[in-house]
Structure formats: structure tokens, C-alpha cells
């Protein structure tokens, strides 16, 4: 062992060649906090022993603000930048000097103070005095049985780990499964490192690798409420069976009062059928007409006669549609526009224009109806109790998607997720902003009050629905960041106060162990930006797939 080499295989050549040994990126266009964002902390930085975290934003140290370093062309000598050493050298600070960083951390109200030592550049060797990544190895240029040298491998690994831990999920839209697969490929070398070069460096690398692995694995939950998934086929099937039973029962209950609907009685002989009950054939939109401002269902033909059911200004029809909308919210939004009525002949004749010709017929009032392919049935006769569709009690009820005016950004996103789950397109649409404030040049924001995201709605909705009923089992709000005011009110110009915030959501898919695990890839959107004008309701600014 040479004279310069310490017992721990570490050599310091210049006590003034000091750094924090952290890496940063300059943040210059944030509406919350500019500064230098920590993207990595070297394994041998003293700040590894502190609370400093990747993604923290350093805004100063001791009593010094880093603001001047944010000016264009001045970043280089700031903390974590390539010329950091020069700065400390100018201040004649030496190895072991303690500084206290002023740190902004998302979610913390106060600026944190985190202390650590500036450390001089250390050179590491192995027992054979070969330059190494850590004390005792591995040697920089040695490959062992791997394809590339340790130094090259480690550099790439650090770059990747930094990439993932520095907002990989939130800002870079990584594909976590793909990244995890790649990350796992390093395991063999990490294990080798542990076996062959056991020491501080190997421990740090293992710890970092594990941390990144956990990050890429995402969160796991055991239970997801999948009731919403039953909207559609499964719930329809349950309700359909009940609807058919109820339809048959209604026929047998009313058997004595029922007559054959066609041919109809002559309008002059209407008293002979007044009060009788008829089952009308299925009708579609073509049977719905408007006559002198009133809408009617016209059922029948010129040979066998007509029945008319007044749809506008009819209490029973209103009830029918109320219950049908409830069905669409609770069971399935897809219901074919086909209707079949059981109706009571009122005894009133009517003259209506149908198919461009005046036709006479008998008025009838619906007492029960079904729709679609018969999966929806409602008996409208019960005047005392709440009218329910057949099978309503057999399916769990969903609360309607509602949003208060003062709902928080998280509540808005939760409502958006709920609307997608339940298939409430209108409620979903209403959660998007009818304006746009966006960065158009460096940190300048343009405010566009005429913006309405009309065109993007259909595909975003369809894809969201497809995802939530297929690969995505649940979407949950993970976190939200600090509300930032991106435009200040200026009445003279016409600018409102515009606040903005991001809400991050987790998407869960079914994992191999039958649990639910978060994932991220290009098909889903984790980050949702919301804005509000003059502290009004929060609305989502970008129409995107869930």
C-alpha cells in the first residue's frame, strides 16, 4: 500500500476541491418555487446522512439566496451544477465545512433547513491500488464477468435511477413495467457487487437499487370496489330477468281488463273499449311525432287503426323517463330507443298528423312500459310508493355524480373518475374548463377565454370508458401539489386571477397475484392539471384519457 493511501482505500488530493456531491437541475419557470431541484445524491455525499430528498428544490444555503444563479448563463456554479467546486473555492471553503441548505419541498408549508458537509473529492482504490468506485472496489475499469466496466455500468445505472426517482411517475410518463424489467436485469451485478466488493459502496448501490425497484413496483392494494364494472352486461342481465318476470306478472294481473289492441275500436264506438288495457307493439323514434307543439307516440296503422300516447305534459310519461334515466345511471347507459307500452284506453278520440296525413285514433295512457330489448321495465301504477324499475332492488345503488361549487381539486378529479366509471358523459364533460391559461413562451402565460375543448371530448371519453372497463380496475387520487397563481387579476386588461394545481392519480391493474397494482404507461394519464378563475370552481384544463 502506498503512503498516500489511507486504510480505508480512500485518498483526498485537494482539501479545497469540495462539493455537496448532489446533482441538481435549475428550475426557472415554476409559479411556486424556482431554485435547483435535486436529481441525485451521490452515494458518498454527506447529504446522504440528512433528510435531503430527490425532487427537493434548493433555494439557498446559510444566508445566501440562489436566485442570482437562476439568471440565464449563471446556473453553472450553483449547488449541484458542474462548476459548483469553483464557487466554494472562491469562498475558500474546505473539506468538512458544514452548510445548511434552504429547501422547498412539495407539500411542506415551511422552507426546510438541511445541513451537510462539503466534502473534498475522494479517490477510491482496491487492495491492488486500482482506481475504484468505492473503497476496496470494484475497480473502475474492471468488467469481471460482465459486458462492460464497472464505472460505465454504474454511471448508466445512476442516470437511470435518477431519471426514475426524479419525478419519473409524475413528470416523465415512464412505462413502469418496462423500466422494472430493465431494472431487474441489474440484479445479478448488484448481487455480485455485494458478494465480491462488500462495503459502503456496495451497500449504497444495493439500497438505491432497492429503492428504485420499490418505486417501479408501485403500490399494491387487495380490494377494489368493482361494482361499477357491473354497469353493463352483468347488471343488465340481472335486471333483465326481473323485467321479464314483472312483464309477465303484469299481464296475468291485468288479464281481466286486457283486450286485443288491434284492430282498434272505431272512434265512434270508443265507449266500448274505454278503460280497457292493451299491450301495444314495440315502437321506435319514428313513432314519436310532434303535433301542434305536443309530442305523441303514434302506434298502429291505417288498416287496423291507431292509438296515441301523449308524451308531453303527461305525468306518467314523465315518471317513465325519470325511472329510465335512473336505470341508465345505475344499470347501463346503453338502452336502445325501443319502447313497448301497456296502456289504458282513455275513451278520448284524437286527430293527429302522422306520416303527413291526418289520422284518427284513440288516446291511451301508459300504465307500464319497457325499453331496449326488454331489459328495462317499469310499472307506473303505484301512486304511493317511489316508482322503481324492475330489478332495481337487486342491484346496488350508485350515488349520482355530484360536485359542489367549492369542491377541491381532489374532489373534482374524484368526480371525474366516478363519472367515467358510471358512464356519465355529461357530468364528466362539465368538469372541464371552458377557458385556457397556458405557458406559451418560457414562463409567460397566455389566457384564452374563448377556448372550449369541444373536439377532444368524444375520443377521450370513449378511450377512458374502454380503459376503465378493461385494463384499469381503479383510479385513485395519489397526491396534489401546491396551488400556484399563474395569472394575477388585472381588471384593466381583463385578466382574472388564475390558479393552477396538479393532481396525480394512480391507475390500478390486476397483478399476477390477483391483487391490484399501480402502473403507468403512455395509455393512461397520471397528471391532471386544474385551474380556477377568481377563486371560482376548479376545472380540469386538458381533455385527456383517464
Amino acid at each position: 500500500m502506498s503512503d498516500n493511501l489511507t486504510l480505508d482505500f480512500t485518498k483526498i488530493l485537494d482539501e479545497t476541491d469540495v462539493k455537496t456531491w448532489i446533482k441538481t437541475d435549475a428550475v426557472t419557470n415554476s409559479f411556486v418555487q424556482n431554485g435547483f431541484r435535486v436529481t441525485w445524491i451521490d452515494w458518498d455525499s454527506d447529504f446522504r446522512n440528512s433528510d435531503l430528498q430527490i425532487e427537493d428544490v434548493i433555494i439557498g444555503y446559510d444566508d445566501v439566496s440562489l436566485e442570482p444563479f437562476l439568471e440565464p448563463g449563471k446556473h453553472g456554479s450553483a449547488i449541484g451544477q458542474h462548476g459548483e467546486t469553483t464557487y466554494w473555492q472562491k469562498l475558500a471553503l474546505k473539506h468538512g465545512h458544514t452548510i445548511t441548505l434552504k429547501v422547498f419541498r412539495e407539500g411542506k408549508k415551511e422552507i426546510l433547513e438541511i445541513s451537510g458537509k462539503l466534502l473534498a473529492r475522494r479517490f477510491y482504490y482496491d487492495s491492488e491500488e486500482k482506481r475504484s468506485l468505492g473503497p476496496g472496489g470494484p475497480p473502475n475499469m474492471l468488467r469481471d464477468d460482465f459486458s462492460d466496466a464497472w464505472s460505465g455500468w454504474y454511471e448508466k445505472l445512476v442516470w437511470k435511477m435518477s431519471h426514475i426517482l426524479d419525478g419519473g411517475w409524475d413528470h416523465k410518463r415512464i412505462n413502469n413495467k418496462k423500466e422494472l424489467q430493465e431494472h431487474e436485469e441489474h440484479k445479478k451485478r448488484i448481487d455480485y457487487l455485494q458478494e465480491r466488493y462488500l462495503g459502503q459502496f456496495a451497500d449504497a448501490v444495493m439500497s438505491d437499487w432497492q429503492k428504485v425497484r420499490n418505486n417501479l413496483l408501485g403500490k399494491e392494494i387487495d380490494v377494489v370496489d368493482l361494482e361499477y364494472r357491473e354497469i353493463g352486461a352483468k347488471r343488465v342481465e340481472t335486471v333483465k330477468q326481473e323485467a321479464y318476470v314483472a312483464w309477465d306478472k303484469m299481464h296475468s294481473d291485468l288479464e281481466d281488463e286486457m283486450i286485443q289492441a288491434f284492430p282498434t275500436a272505431e272512434v265512434d264506438n270508443r265507449e266500448t273499449v274505454e278503460g280497457k288495457i292493451i299491450e301495444l307493439p314495440w315502437i321506435g323514434p319514428r313513432n314519436i311525432i310532434n303535433d301542434l307543439g305536443q309530442s305523441y307516440a303514434v302506434i298502429g296503422n291505417r288498416t287496423e287503426g291507431f292509438y296515441f300516447v301523449q308524451l308531453s305534459n303527461s305525468a306518467s310519461v314523465r315518471k317513465f323517463y325519470d325511472v329510465m334515466y335512473r336505470y341508465q345511471a345505475q344499470v347501463s347507459p346503453n338502452l336502445k330507443e325501443r319502447y313497448q307500452y301497456i296502456a289504458r284506453i282513455t275513451g278520448e278520440p284524437a286527430l293527429i298528423t302522422y306520416d303527413r296525413r291526418a289520422v284518427t285514433g284513440l288516446m291511451a295512457e301508459i300504465i307500464a312500459a319497457r325499453a331496449g330489448d326488454g331489459e328495462f321495465f317499469v310499472d307506473l301504477q303505484n301512486k304511493d310508493k317511489e316508482i322503481k324499475f324492475a330489478g332495481q332492488e337487486k342491484v346496488n345503488q350508485f350515488a349520482p355524480v355530484k360536485i359542489e361549487k367549492d369542491a377541491s381539486p381532489v374532489q373534482v378529479i374524484e368526480a371525474m373518475i366516478e363519472a367515467v366509471k358510471l358512464g356519465h358523459e355529461k357530468a364528466w364533460k362539465n368538469l372541464f374548463a371552458t377557458w385556457r391559461a397556458y405557458l406559451y413562451w418560457e414562463n409567460r402565460v397566455a389566457f384564452d377565454p374563448s377556448y372550449i375543448p369541444r373536439g377532444s371530448f368524444p375520443s377521450a371519453w370513449e378511450q377512458s370508458r374502454r380503459l376503465i372497463t378493461d385494463r384499469v380496475y381503479d383510479v385513485r387520487v395519489d397526491k396534489t401539489n401546491t396551488v400556484r397563481r399563474i395569472i394575477k387579476k388585472d381588471e384593466e386588461v381583463g385578466f382574472p386571477d388564475v390558479d393552477e394545481v396538479d393532481v396525480f392519480v394512480d391507475h390500478y391493474e390486476l397483478s399476477e397475484n390477483e391483487k391490484y397494482r399501480t402502473f403507468l404507461d403512455v395509455n393512461v394519464r397520471r397528471k391532471w392539471t386544474l385551474q380556477r378563475l377568481d377563486e371560482g370552481p376548479w376545472r380540469i384544463t386538458t381533455v385527456q384519457v383517464i
Binding site: 278520440p349 284524437a350 388585472d490
Partner: protein, 450 residues
């Protein structure tokens, strides 16, 4: 710079604003070489803004053709969407355009702020125009116009339909009345004939008995005559009943026609309550007022002036559609007046109830006075069948007297039953009270604008 554009009031504000901003961006302490690039940027920006003004003028002018769209399938909501989408697009384009005029450097920071303010104001200007209800009204009034046009044709068809229903029934009534009269005449002549045959048979019988005293009276022929009269009277009764049933059926049908007519009048009334000239006129006035008010809500005076001018031009266009509606509406009202609009006219009542024809029919029937004629037949029989029975044996006299007492009374009763039966009351009711009720129903029904 002077703009010849239609909507150029905003230009002065741009010019003044640019000038004022330029002063802020130029530091008097700087020398000419430093100031020159700033001045160049301002000149460039001014030129760009003048191009924007041309574009803006076109954007506004190109919106007006939306207000000329004419179609039977047009709707207020579709027009509103078209209008809004157009202006939203222009707003976004304006914002992008103005922000794009600012040089991508920091030499003119105030100009950037100014451009951002102008861009937002212009976007807001188009956003405001997007919510102006001119296109909605233009679509809505066309919807109304088309609705009145189609309803006018529908009502014409309905009226024809009612008339046809009524005509079929009226001719049935007329036929029935003619049949009844014919039947009356036939039956009366047959009854008279039988009555005369009976009288002759009686005379012959008595004459034979007188010529051959002791010869038993041969009453068979006389009794047959009585039987025949009674049987004719009964079949007559049945025919009358059948015919009265036809009257009843016809009445029921007529009653249905009246119900349908009254119902249609009521539907027209409700229809016109919702949409009428007054309401459309109010809507037009309100649309114009709201549009002008909204134009005046634009951020700057120049925008307000341009918006007001634009709205005024738009109003001129939608007025034509309003006038078309007025014409259509008036045609609708005129066409249906006295039928479905206003009080029912005599002509419509006449066409539905055929009052004159019915009155004539009833007069014919009642003038014929079948009751009296039947009574006369009986009276005649009583009188003419009381032939001289002197010369007959007491026994034969008694037989004849019994015949007079029993058979003539039977005949009288039989004819009396027909003459005074409920059939006549029913017929009379159908032709008088029931028809009066129908007429009342028609007259009391409320039609459009009542």
C-alpha cells in the same frame, strides 16, 4: 394608419397602446444603436397588428353568412352551436396570432405584456360574440316558421278529414231521411189501400148478406185487411226503428267529429299560446336588445363600437327571417280563422253540422206528419167501415158491431202506438236537441288566440 375596414374602431386603441408601450420600453439613457432594435420590433409589431385588423374584419364579416343560412331542418340550437364554435375558433386564432407577433427575445418586455393583454382581450371579444344570441334566434324563428307552415298544411288536412268524416255521415243521414220519407209515403199509401180494401170487403160482405138473407157473414176478407194493416204497420215500425238507429249511429259519428274539432281547436289555442306573433316579436326585441347589451359589455370602447356595429348588421339579417315568420304566421291565422282560430264561423258550423240540410230533412219528415196520417187512416177506417147494416139479422148486426168495437179498436191501438211511440221522440231529439248541443259544443269551443 387609417383603416377602411367595417370594424375598425379597435385600431385606434391598438395604435395608442403600442405607442404608450414603446415609450416604456425605450430607456432614454440608452443610445440610438441600442434603441434601434427596439424601434424595429415595435414597427414590426404595429404592422402585424394591422394585418390582424384585416383578419379580424374578415373574421367578423365571415360570421354574418351564418345568419343567412336557410333550411327547413335548421334549429335554434344548431345555429347557436355553429355560431359559438365559429367565434371560439376565431378567439383562439386571434390569441395565437397576436402572441405570435411578439419577438422571441427580452428586448421589449413591455411589448410582450401589452401583446398578452391585447391577445386576451381579443380572445374575450370573440368569446363575448360567441354568446350573442343572434344565430340562435335566426334558427329558432326559422323553426317556428317551418312549424307554422307544416301545421298549416296539417290543419288543412285535418279539416278536410273532419269534413270527409262528416260528409260520409251527412249523406247517410240524407239517404236515411229520403228513405224514411219514401217509406212513409209507401206505407201510408199501402195502409190507405188496405183500409179501402177492408172497407170494400165489408161492403161486399154486407151486401151479399142482404141479398141472401140468412147467409152467414163472410168476415174473413175484412179481418185479413185489418191484419194486413196491422202487420204493415208493425214492419213499418221496425223499418223506422232501423232507420232511427242509423240516425243514432250517424249522430255518434257527428258527435265524434265535433269532439275532434273542438279538441283540435283547443290544441291550436295551446299551440298559439306558446308561440305567437307577440311572443316571437318579444323574442326578437329581446334578442336584439340582449345582443346589443352584450356587445356593449366588451372590454374596451373600440371593441364595444365594433361589436355594436357587427350586431346591428346581424340584426338586419335576422329581421328578414322574423318578417318571414310574421308572414307565415299571418297566413296560418288567416287560413284557419273561423275554423281553428278565433270563434267558429257560421260556415264552419254549417260544414260540420250541415244545419240547413238537416233542418230541411227534419222539416220534410215533420211536415209529412206521419202521426196525423196514421191517425187519419184510423179515423177514416172508423168512418168508412161504419157501413149501413140495416137489413141484417140481429145476430149479424151484433157480429158487425163487435167487429167495429174489437177490430177497429185494435187497429186504432196499433196505429196509435206507432204514431205516438218513442221512436219519434228519439228522432226528434236527434234532429233538434242533440244537434243543438253539438252546435253549442262547437260554438263554445275555444280556438287559437281565444
Amino acid at each position: 394608419m387609417i383603416f377602411m375596414a367595417e370594424y375598425a374602431a379597435r385600431w385606434d386603441e391598438f395604435e395608442d397602446g403600442i405607442k404608450a408601450t414603446e415609450e416604456k420600453d425605450i430607456d432614454p439613457a440608452k443610445d440610438e444603436i441600442e434603441i434601434l432594435p427596439i424601434l424595429t420590433r415595435y414597427t414590426g409589431f404595429t404592422n402585424s397588428m394591422s394585418k390582424y385588423m384585416d383578419w379580424r374584419d374578415k373574421a367578423l364579416s365571415n360570421a354574418l353568412p351564418i345568419l343567412k343560412n336557410e333550411s327547413t331542418s335548421i334549429t335554434g340550437s344548431a345555429q347557436k352551436d355553429k355560431w359559438s364554435e365559429y367565434f371560439e375558433k376565431q378567439g383562439q386564432e386571434a390569441l395565437k396570432m397576436i402572441l405570435g407577433f411578439v419577438p422571441d427575445d427580452d428586448k421589449t418586455p413591455k411589448l410582450r405584456l401589452f401583446a398578452e393583454a391585447m391577445a386576451t382581450q381579443e380572445s374575450a371579444f370573440f368569446a363575448k360574440l360567441s354568446s350573442i344570441p343572434l344565430a340562435w334566434f335566426q334558427g329558432q324563428i326559422q323553426e317556428y316558421t317551418y312549424q307554422f307552415y307544416t301545421e298549416m298544411n296539417s290543419l288543412e288536412d285535418k279539416w278536410k278529414n273532419l269534413q270527409n268524416m262528416d260528409k260520409a255521415m251527412d249523406s247517410k243521414v240524407k239517404d236515411t231521411s229520403a228513405n224514411i220519407l219514401r217509406l212513409f209515403k209507401d206505407i201510408v199509401s199501402e195502409l190507405v189501400e188496405q183500409e179501402r180494401a177492408g172497407e170494400q170487403a165489408l161492403i161486399n160482405t154486407i151486401k151479399a148478406s142482404k141479398l141472401t138473407p140468412g147467409l152467414p157473414l163472410s168476415m174473413k176478407a175484412v179481418l185479413t185487411a185489418v191484419q194486413l194493416i196491422l202487420s204493415k204497420a208493425q214492419s213499418f215500425q221496425k223499418s223506422i226503428d232501423d232507420m232511427v238507429n242509423i240516425y243514432m249511429d250517424a249522430y255518434k259519428r257527428e258527435e265524434t267529429v265535433v269532439i275532434l274539432f273542438a279538441q283540435t281547436r283547443n290544441a291550436v289555442r295551446e299551440f298559439l299560446q306558446k308561440t305567437n306573433l307577440d311572443s316571437a316579436s318579444d323574442e326578437f326585441e329581446e334578442t336584439c336588445k340582449n345582443s346589443l347589451d352584450m356587445a356593449k359589455q366588451c372590454k374596451t370602447k373600440g371593441q364595444q363600437e365594433d361589436a355594436v356595429r357587427f350586431v346591428e348588421n346581424g340584426i338586419k339579417l335576422i329581421k328578414d327571417f322574423y318578417e318571414d315568420f310574421k308572414k307565415q304566421y299571418e297566413e296560418f291565422v288567416d287560413d284557419n280563422r273561423g275554423i281553428f282560430v278565433g270563434p267558429v264561423g257560421d260556415k264552419a258550423i254549417e260544414e260540420i253540422l250541415e244545419k240547413r240540410d238537416m233542418e230541411y230533412s227534419w222539416q220534410e219528415i215533420s211536415r209529412f206528419n206521419i202521426q196525423q196520417k196514421l191517425k187519419d187512416i184510423h179515423t177514416d177506417a172508423v168512418r168508412s167501415w161504419h157501413v149501413d147494416i140495416n137489413g141484417l139479422t140481429d145476430e149479424q148486426k151484433k157480429e158487425i158491431e163487435d167487429f167495429w168495437r174489437v177490430e177497429l179498436e185494435k187497429l186504432g191501438r196499433g196505429l196509435q202506438t206507432i204514431a205516438d211511440g218513442s221512436t219519434w221522440d228519439r228522432t226528434k231529439q236527434i234532429f233538434t236537441r242533440n244537434r243543438e248541443q253539438l252546435e253549442d259544443k262547437i260554438s263554445n269551443s275555444k280556438g287559437g288566440l281565444q
